[in-house]
């Protein structure tokens, strides 16, 4: 499975993702510069965390209009998968590839901490290896991670099972205290209608080896590999 890790000016988690793909799950991976439009030789594009273009105007706003992001709809149309973490999630929302928007944390503080996530949807190529209701532990590191969307879109998203991860306690209780940023409905990660684009604020690449303090993030990568079918395409939901 061929991965591409997108690099914008100001991206910071690109090396971490590259490391996990090449050294931990041992798959072919290359860096993709933000001006690139050709994604033909890739199966999965990763938009890593960081502060693309300094987060000028709004987090992810400028990156959301970059050549590589403009090439994503065509990439998805021919069967590709897109994973955006942290700033990557913000970029996907700004680009309109995912519904909603990420706002400044309600507490106003930058939050760099471990979080627990309850898994709501295991019917995506990113979560296939998980159990419904499973609790994962992954770190967050952001100042603008409060998910917001209008009430009607939220209803539709629930109907279509687009909410994938929610902040919870270690026991899987979705509580206000377990919500680190004031996110609507404790939302930490969502997919598009087709389930081919995942955006999440937590960092799976920072929980991929026991030396990092946990390996739950690796389950997302295992899900991706487990979604490959014989002809090299992905098993969709």
């Amino acid at each position: 499975m061929r991965f591409g890790v997108v690099v914008f000016p100001g991206t910071w988690s690109d090396c971490d993702f590259h490391y996990v793909v090449s050294e931990v799950i041992r798959q072919p991976v290359k860096y993709v510069w933000h001006r690139e439009r050709n994604l033909d030789d890739l199966d999965c594009v990763i938009l890593p965390g960081g502060f693309s273009y300094g987060d000028y105007l709004r987090a992810g706003a400028v990156a959301g209009r970059s050549p590589v992001v403009e090439a994503l709809p065509e990439f998805l149309a021919r069967g590709g998968l897109v994973l955006g973490s942290c700033n990557g999630f913000q970029i996907l929302c700004e680009a309109g590839l995912l519904p909603g928007v990420l706002m400044r944390n309600e507490c106003l503080q930058y939050r760099c901490q471990s979080t627990h996530l309850i898994v709501d949807n295991v019917d995506t190529p990113f979560t296939r290896a998980l159990r419904p209701g499973q609790v994962l532990q992954m770190p967050i590191s952001h100042g603008e991670g409060k998910y917001h969307v209008d009430a009607e879109t939220l209803r539709t998203m629930r109907q279509r099972n687009q909410i994938v991860f929610r902040y919870a306690t270690a026991e899987g209780q979705v509580t206000k205290a377990a919500n680190p940023n004031g996110s609507l409905d404790n939302i930490a990660g969502i997919v598009n209608e087709e389930g081919t684009v995942l955006g999440l604020m937590p960092h799976p690449e920072r929980a991929a080896e026991s030396a990092m303090g946990g390996t739950d993030g690796l389950l997302l990568f295992h899900s991706l590999l487990g979604s490959l079918v014989e002809d090299g395409t992905f098993s969709k939901r």
């Binding site: 706003a61 909603g100 928007v101 706002m103 944390n105 309600e106 507490c107 106003l108």
Partner: protein, 91 residues
């Protein structure tokens, strides 16, 4: 043509930044400050023959990049160069 775009959080969207600034004003003794909200002012020059044309282009810029309409409202002001220039009487 000089264009000003005023971008504000939509009514009903909680402005945590505005609330923090208002609390800081309160700390300075400005207990009379209420309802503070923080927005953005963007100034630019637009090549256009008429103010209406400049406004239409700015509107497109707002929809495509300058504002996120899920969260923000925007207002466009097209002004002549003279009106925007700092007055000579102001020091």
């Amino acid at each position: 043509m000089k264009v000003r775009v005023l971008i504000r959080l939509k009514p009903g969207i909680m402005d945590v930044q505005g609330a923090a600034v208002q609390r800081a004003l309160g700390g300075l003794g400005f207990a009379d400050a209420h309802g503070l909200r923080v927005g953005k002012l963007i100034e630019l020059d637009v090549d256009a023959a008429t103010p209406a044309q400049a406004r239409a282009r700015a509107d497109e810029m707002c929809r495509r990049l300058l504002a996120n309409t899920i969260l923000e409202d925007y207002a466009i002001d097209v002004e002549s160069a003279e009106r925007l220039a700092p007055s000579a009487e102001v020091r």
